[in-house]
């Protein structure tokens, strides 16, 4: 038998010195490797965008309830007149139930400001003063029909996209986005190119109401969808045929 036997290790016994050095070396090496891996994985994460929660805000404007509640601002310290605000509730909820009776009326809204790029929104505060009818005359913006379009982009939930979560888009966020949409948060179509200068579209169904359940199967991935585009004041609305949505090539 060879003179140089590899040392033999018994857990409860004393470890031979050569083996001990080897083992401790491997252990320390692993610690260093793990630290390096953690650093590298963290440092190469990609940019989650500029969506953000920006503190309290209040606005008065004309409320449009369909397909999802939007406030067309007429007067506010935080937003320019004409800005369209996507309204959502606290947590993964929408505000359809509160907005329904206020459709077309002048409404005062209070809550937390959410913003990302060109889209603005408010998470309406749950208290009684979160959304109330205001005094004064109101006129909804006239909708401009921009015709039928086939657009490529991603269906997101307009709350997380808008900064409630960062990142609030993508596959890892898909189930969460679905949960928001099921709860009534407004869906937003983020186009890869611009249509009439717009990149973000509030999504609705072809009949003008909220999107159907089928859309949940197409969130968070790059899809093509067909429908009518309207410009309503400061926001573009994309009213899609659910059957036309398919994976983009």
């Amino acid at each position: 038998m060879a003179a140089k036997e590899p040392p033999f290790f018994i857990g409860w016994g004393k470890m031979p010195a050569a083996l001990r050095d080897f083992t401790i070396g491997i252990g320390l090496g692993l610690v260093v490797l793990l630290a390096l891996a953690g650093f590298m994985v963290a440092a190469t994460q990609n940019d989650p965008g500029d969506g953000a929660v920006l503190g309290g805000a209040a606005a008065v404007g004309v409320l449009e309830a369909a397909p999802y509640p939007v406030l067309h601002v007429t007067d506010s310290e935080s937003f320019a007149a004409g800005t369209a605000l996507l309204l959502s509730g606290v947590g993964k909820r929408g505000v359809e139930d509160r907005a329904g009776s206020l459709d077309g009326k002048l409404v005062a809204v209070k809550g937390v400001r959410l913003a990302r790029g060109e889209i603005e929104g408010v998470q309406v505060s749950p208290g009684a003063d979160g959304m109330v009818e205001a005094d004064g005359a109101a006129a909804r913006p006239v909708a401009a029909d921009l015709g039928r379009w086939r657009i490529t982009g991603e269906i997101c939930d307009g709350k997380c996209l808008n900064g409630a979560m960062r990142p609030g888009t993508g596959l890892a966020h898909k189930a969460c986005a679905n949960l928001c949409l099921i709860g009534g948060a407004p869906p937003v179509f983020v186009a890869t190119g611009r249509v009439d200068g717009a990149e973000f579209f509030l999504l609705g169904n072809a009949d003008g109401g909220p999107v159907t359940q089928e859309v949940l199967d197409h969130t968070a991935v790059l899809v093509e969808a067909e429908g009518r585009v309207e410009r309503r004041g400061g926001i573009h609305v994309f009213l899609i045929d659910p059957a036309s949505v398919r994976l983009a090539r």
Binding site: F8, G27, V31, L34, G38, N46, P167, T219
Partner: protein
């Protein structure tokens, strides 16, 4: 080896092992959360909760990858055996890290909704038919449940309660769990974002697990497989003193033929503790000593010395033309067999 169950039988090696383990986990998390995250390209920083779910999730993946590499590495190079010794603590720590990841996911992505978190996790995405947008959360949940089960039954109490073969079969579920974890990551984070460092480390880790297992399996195949009731082993002089020669018997079982000076005996190669390869062990203080956790057996009857009660099967041996032959039919565990006297033949 224990006659009485205590939560953990601590010794210095375990302390050092666990110390390094905890240091590794902390090093990963600190490097990720405190140093690396700040250097990532971001218009505004990633949410704290999302950052932590990424840190703990990726950490759990790397830990499980290392755990699964230890087994085949120890088979290919015996110097890695000490890493195997306390592998169960490694597993329990990995489960804790994975559980933290899951808690952040549930508490962030699946909270604040009208649906309760776990129900929301499993019901909000039902695109099971496509790879793109697949509900990868379910795969992660499966892996986590397996890790929980294995961590909960990792103690030797469960090993003897369930018996070694059942326990071993249960713990083989780590492989489907790892496969589910690889799919969980590949269909989720990897498909979602563009993170080259993670992609390389993830691919490298999964390939290392697969490659090392293939290499260890090939190594095992090289041991000759014999036929017949009496199977030739080798000449007594070919077995080093206090060491064994492993033979693969016609039924696929392995026996370890040990030589202690001028005496030769054969016992099963599978340790009663966790099926460790006894034939890769040595005779220490007159007993066959398992290379994995140091359980001991007397080579003439396969019994652990008192007060311990473990037993492994023994085998009958004979000498033919200067060659040791082994009877392929194992004796019941603990059956005494007088050792072959090979004085003058070595």
């Amino acid at each position: 080896m224990s006659v009485r169950y205590v939560p953990v039988q601590w010794n210095r090696i375990k302390w050092v092992y666990d110390g390094l383990l905890v240091a590794g986990v902390l090093a990963y998390l600190v490097a990720f959360l405190q140093i690396g995250a700040g250097m990532a390209d971001a218009t505004r920083p990633v949410d704290g909760a999302i950052l932590r779910m990424r840190a703990f999730g990726s950490c759990a993946f790397f830990l499980l990858t290392v755990i699964l590499c230890i087994g085949p590495l120890a088979r290919l190079d015996r110097r890695f055996l000490p890493l195997l010794y306390n592998r169960r603590h490694f597993g329990v720590v990995t489960f804790a890290v994975a559980l933290t990841h899951a808690a952040y996911v549930l508490g962030w992505y699946f909270a604040y909704a009208p649906t309760p978190p776990v129900a929301a996790l499993l019901s909000s995405n039902t695109s099971y038919g496509t790879a793109l947008g697949f509900p990868f959360e379910a795969l992660g949940a499966f892996a986590l449940v397996v890790l929980a089960l294995l961590a909960a039954t990792s103690h030797d109490f469960w090993l003897s309660f369930l018996t070694a073969p059942v326990w071993k079969a249960l713990h083989l579920m780590i492989y489907p769990a790892y496969a589910a974890l690889v799919a969980h990551v590949a269909l989720g984070y990897l498909q979602d974002v563009d993170n080259p460092a993670f992609a390389i480390l993830f691919g490298g880790g999964a390939l290392a697990v697969a490659g090392l297992h293939a290499a260890a399996a090939l190594e095992g195949r090289r041991e000759a497989r014999s036929a017949g009731t009496w199977v030739a082993v080798c000449a007594p002089g070919e077995i080093a003193d206090k060491r064994a020669r492993i033979v693969r018997l016609p039924d696929g079982d392995r026996a370890a033929v040990f030589r202690n000076g001028a005496r030769v005996s054969a016992i099963s190669n599978a340790c009663a503790h966790q099926n460790g390869p006894l034939g890769e062990g040595r005779i220490v203080f007159g007993c066959v000593t398992c290379p994995w956790h140091g359980y001991q057996y007397r080579m003439e009857d396969g019994c652990s010395p008192p007060p311990f009660t473990e037993k492994v099967p023994t085998y009958n041996l004979r000498l033919r033309d200067g060659v040791i032959e082994i009877d392929a039919r194992a004796n019941a565990p603990g059956t005494p067999v007088p050792p072959l006297d090979v004085a003058g033949m070595i």
